[in-house]
Symmetry: C2
Subunit: 769 residues, 2 copies
């Protein structure tokens, strides 16, 4: 755990340069706009510890699967998130000296991620080896409005000398992934050009043998230079090398004068443009944004962020660390996914790092969709669902590879384009509960929005594919005279290849039931007939099979302890608590895999995940009994775990536990709990943090089309507030130690259920409780 | 399955050149002497399909473990069997034309592995592109007497022309492993020298970061050239390149004359010599063998093979294919391991290929030791046991890595030097039954030889280490009120991470019982006190713990079907037979891993393996019931499986099944059943083939110090005979359709039990039954 970030309500502040932590700071201060993003690297050369990172949404390389021992059915490749062309670079030379904070004396330094505005600023004073002193001020943003662009203002003031500066704004595609297998580079140069103050570079991903398209990304830049804010004459000499273009400007700067470089850049990808249009489009894009100019771009960008915060800010009073933590989580979620493009999804590291490949895990459905449902336009969550609908055919092919047939669909564990790209058999082939989360998200979306049209338009086809998978995956046990599901890995990945994982069995049966329900709902419609025809659905046979499973499924349960068993045979284990193994944690770093597997310790909520998703099927007492059985065994070595425990603890009245779990989730990256923030941030669990507040402390639910709140406030806080949208209304909920106020900021009246009682909140008014 | 090898009683014959199958033939015709070996490559250049392979026992490279996803506890490296310097090469040029069977017209061709003599011969007539015709005759052997050397006689006769021949006997270390990760080479040159008709090359394995010694191998050669068997004058020009030395001889050969090159080579390894002595030792070795000359070396070598066959030949009359098959198996076992060096062991491919690393699997104990016990000096099996004793400390360290303590030992799944070098968690960490096989082998050795001194000298220490492991690995189930073993992989690797694998539970308890028994046996001896002191043995506590486990262990059993369950929950599976999935086999090539795991299908005998090892603990009826339950589910996709089924089937009177399983095992490589003989031979399962005859058809056992035979003859055969040693006696057992004759070839009287009746066979006499 680290503690060098200054606590502040709206900003992430590094006061004084922490060179040893620079890669962590770079992760924390990443900028993104859903289309592209980059880590908080310095603009000028830096030879110290750094992970230079620029990422473009939807662009990846299919890297050959390399395993020690091949298992039949493994995917051929792994979709690797590609580190892309660096567009933020501006090299600075003063006379013959290169500006490099690694070789200067840094006199003062402040780097600030302004989350309210979505900007990264830096102000620093340095002394060069020659003794010359300089002040640097930079501000940049990844444009939320013109979302294929970014802009930088970079100012430098010689404090005690006059000299000729060499200023080199550049684009550099000589980039390799740090996590790549053999320092391979994945980009080839296709085209480059330069003119007076512009430069363009088109890079293409390398050839691959998997039939995956080769992506092209055109990166363009334009720059302008001012002295003391005024136009000035300067010469710019184009420089070109392999995968590199730059403009080199020699300019004299007088002592005390401020030289400012404005750099505008665009990243256009062949996922959005014809390849032969990339250069002309990049040029006109550059023209448009550079004509707007930095100040106007900045103003538009800040306005866009204000609109976002308007919808999804959470305030916490009386606890600045908690305030900073929650905003940090919301900020990065907004940077990672905006819902503008239904081909995109929420990568585990967003645009903050390159570890892990793929962009889509079950995290999206289980953790992120609730966040976007409440804090963004309906279409954002809808697009996330449509993304899976688009991949339905691939999910069917994926299931076929594993021996399933007849339209059974198994969605991949990790994917970029619908194809599986993970390669551990116990995960890839067996962690199939992901399929259930994808079905549940459809239900969750319809429950929240009331948008039943989604079911007929897209949802049912996906549900049928998934239900068919469960039907085939579940087998009859002559021994038990019940249906069983053998050989799975549940959400708790510290168990592999178990039989009858309670959670997986439950969500499978739930899917079958829900699919039957949706078919009943659409009964007699033309669209249902169409779907039946298209999917070759055997109406009586398949429905009867599903009902048979629902009625006769085995769910492991211990009548003595009255708890659901995580899997068959769970009680054969030695039942210990995390307190018994204090010296051994984290077990994933201290124990061999077999020891983890045969222990009772739980990486991540498993039975509890099911009780959380399907809470209405269980009494509070039942939930409490299971919580008290499983919580003491849970090591929370997945970032996705504490939030579920926090929400459940809040529900069953364990307030201290709920707060403890909240703290654990909210500052995970800010305080580098797991010692891995330098690789990038844990983006998807950030939605879980948001849920801990809104679903946990505030008890937000939707039941029968009505928004429900059951708020309480942790005693450590004075107040907290959040904003949520619900079916056209925008509400600001404020909870204090005294009570709850709900402000309806919208023009729609809305009736909600607070603490069990209905409350009408008229448009643009506030009610208290 | 292929069928191009001519059936012959004593030889493996390729009639006509089968270029497409050349790599298979090279595997089949590999030569070895326990110290070194090489594939059946041609001496002269060959540009067609070939896997040039030379191997030196005990020499390996620790190659970095590469997995997709690292699990805590994985070994850092994999001990790779290294393809080593090629010493068999003799390049031939006729004028400007290079002799290369890939570019000639091959007029006639015969390649013969003479198993009786241990030689590889080739006679071929070829026409060069120029039209010139040549006859080639070669014979070579890997010397069984001077076991660091080999010799070649290579003769060439121009049939219709006279020309100058360029003859280049060479040593070439420019070799890379075919299975290596990135075409890496693993050898560096240390030294080379040449003289008139000699050459020496010292190669060293590359540096490694694992602290594994860098091996050096000195390869030396001397050659001589004759015309028509007579000395002749010739000039030899030394040639030297990186990792290459040669002598180049230009010599005129007249039409019809026979040019013969005699090449003598040695391979001395730093595992046997001081590095600075390698060159002088190689020179004196070369001097010694070249002075003996080819004819004498050959005569000594053939004599050594005759001695081996005297001890372990099996004859089968009435079935040449079966005769050839069984001798092929015995021949390669003798080539792979001679028992001369207790640091060596039996690699899965012997000296016939480089696939898989390591030299030692549990195959050694479970399959090979019974073969060597009956067919070689006692010390051979004893050395195999001592090998594990030498690795006891490493096994203790290996267990410590996995969280065990207090002297608990877990022997590696795959090893070269005692350290684990396999990296699949479900095997490396969980296929722990191997530990039981190592304990059982001690029992098996003592039972066969009566050599109880082994127990106090070495055996007990190993047994204590293994018993301590079982004690810690077994846990108490409060649910079952019995001891359980969770998270294991049994011999049937088509189940992973199961609970209470019956076989593993059984062999674990057996180990504990046997260790207790051995302690009782040694009670009061000084040596026991010494061992107690050295191992910090807690006499009362540990023994009581072990007894408690033995008395209260859980063994999954189905009372209705009255069969032992392969593991807990086995009957939850759909119980099918291999006939139900005829189109799907082999399932390891057609099914994804999860499908294999949740199916009932068995790769290799599992419960049956236990019933085979511990047959006296079970009634024949019980064995039959379990056999009839499990056999129909067994796909035998491990080469180690059919022999156990064959032996059990023979025991319970299922003669047709026993014969079917025998056929399956005995010609596995000769007929390339699994389409992988080109990678090398399945050496360890060859001992299983031998067991199918001797333990299966002939019912050989040892009970209470008496050799037992219960022979019958498959109806397909006229007779079969085999030789076994037993406590100083050498017996030749002949079984015909009429009865059994046992000849005592030795000078010891021996009483054996035939079909339940004792029979005294006096020295050098024969008894019939």
């Amino acid at each position: 755990m680290k503690n060098y970030i200054t606590h502040d309500e709206w900003s992430i502040v590094e006061d004084g340069f922490h060179a040893a932590n620079n890669e962590i700071t770079e992760s924390l201060m990443s900028l993104g706009n859903g289309r592209m993003g980059q880590r908080g690297n310095f603009e000028e050369q830096y030879t110290g510890k750094t992970l230079l990172g620029n990422y473009v949404a939807g662009v990846y390389f299919p890297d050959k699967t390399r395993v020690g021992w091949w298992k039949n059915g493994y995917p051929n490749y792994f979709a690797k998130v590609l580190n892309a062309c660096n567009w933020t670079g501006i090299d600075i030379k003063i006379g013959d000296e290169t500006l490099d904070l690694n070789t200067c004396q840094v006199e003062d330094f402040r780097r600030v991620l302004n989350m309210q505005e979505g900007t990264l600023e830096r102000i620093t004073t340095v002394q060069l080896a020659s003794g010359k002193r300089l002040k640097i001020y930079s501000k940049r943003f990844c444009n939320m409005v013109d979302d294929e662009s970014g802009a930088i203002q970079y100012s430098i003031t010689p404090l005690d000398f006059t000299d000729t500066f060499t200023v080199t704004p550049y684009l550099d595609g000589n980039i390799s992934n740090r996590d790549s297998n053999y320092d391979e580079t994945f980009w080839n140069e296709i085209h480059k050009e330069t003119s007076f103050s512009e430069g363009y570079l088109v890079l293409e991903t390398k050839e691959n043998p998997y039939g995956v398209e080769q992506f092209q990304v055109a990166t363009g830049m334009a720059f302008d230079i001012k002295i003391n804010g005024l136009k000035t004459d300067y010469q710019s000499l184009p420089a070109r090398r392999e995968k590199y273009v730059a403009g080199v400007v020699h300019i004299e700067v007088k002592e005390g004068d401020e030289l400012t470089i404005f750099k505008y850049a665009v990243n256009l990808s062949s996922t959005n443009y014809e390849k032969d249009q990339l250069i002309p489009e990049a040029k006109s894009y550059i023209k448009r944004i550079s004509e707007k100019g930095f100040a106007q771009l900045y103003a538009e960008h800040v306005k866009a962020w204000a609109d976002k915060w308007e919808k999804n800010d959470i305030t916490i009073e009386g606890d600045i660390a908690a305030q900073q933590g929650i905003r940090f989580n919301i900020f990065h979620l907004n940077q990672t996914y905006t819902g503008e493009d239904e081909r995109l999804n929420i990568g585990p590291k967003g645009f903050t790092g390159e570890k892990y490949g793929g962009s889509t895990y079950w995290d999206t459905e289980a953790y992120c969709i609730p966040f976007y449902l409440s804090t963004a336009d309906e279409k954002v969550a809808r697009n996330l669902l449509v993304y899976r609908h688009k991949h339905l055919q691939k999910a069917i092919e994926n299931a076929e590879k594993l021996g399933f047939s007849g339209g059974a669909a198994l969605y991949p564990m990790v994917t970029m384009n619908g194809e599986e790209c993970h390669n551990e058999w116990e995960i890839t082939f067996e962690e199939i509960h992901r399929n259930g989360a994808i079905a549940f998200a459809i239900y969750d979306y319809v429950r929240y929005t009331g948008d039943e049209s989604y079911l007929s338009e897209y949802g049912l086809e996906v549900l049928i594919g998934i239900s068919r998978f469960w039907k085939q995956r579940i087998t009859w046990s002559a021994e038990k005279k019940q249906f069983v599901m053998l050989g799975v890995t549940g959400p708790n990945e510290y168990e592999n290849n178990v039989n009858n994982n309670w959670y997986t069995n439950y969500i499978a049966c739930w899917t079958l039931r829900y699919t039957l329900e949706v078919i009943s709902k659409l009964w007699g419609t033309e669209r249902l007939n169409e779907i039946i025809f298209q999917t070759h659905f055997n109406l009586n046979g398949e429905m009867a099979d599903w009902k048979n499973i629902v009625d006769n499924m085995h769910f492991p349960y211990d009548p003595e302890k009255q708890v659901y068993l995580q899997q068959q045979g769970f009680l054969d284990k030695e039942i210990l608590t995390v307190n018994d193994i204090a010296d051994h944690r984290p077990i994933n770093q201290k124990w061999s895999w077999d020891r983890i597997l045969r222990s009772c310790f739980i990486k991540q909520a498993d039975v509890l995940q099911g009780l959380y998703l399907f809470e209405d099927d269980f009494s509070t007492e039942e939930i409490k009994r299971n919580f008290e059985f499983y919580e003491p065994m849970t090591v929370h070595e997945s970032s996705l775990s504490p939030c579920v425990h926090s929400i459940l603890a809040a529900k069953i009245g364990l307030k201290e536990k709920a707060y403890e779990m909240y703290v654990r989730t909210s500052r995970l990256d800010l305080d580098d709990y797991n010692n891995d923030t330098e690789d990038g941030l844990h983006i998807t669990s950030m939605a879980g943090t948001w849920m801990s507040v809104v679903k946990g402390f505030a008890g937000q639910r939707v039941k029968d089309g009505v928004l429900v709140l059951n708020p309480y406030i942790p005693e450590q806080w004075n107040s907290y507030s959040f904003r949520i949208g619900f079916r056209g209304a925008l509400l600001r909920v404020e909870v204090t130690q005294e009570g709850v106020a709900v402000e309806n900021i919208s023009d729609h009246d809305v009736t909600i259920l607070i603490k069990g009682e209905p409350l009408l909140i008229a448009a643009n008014s506030t009610e208290r409780k």
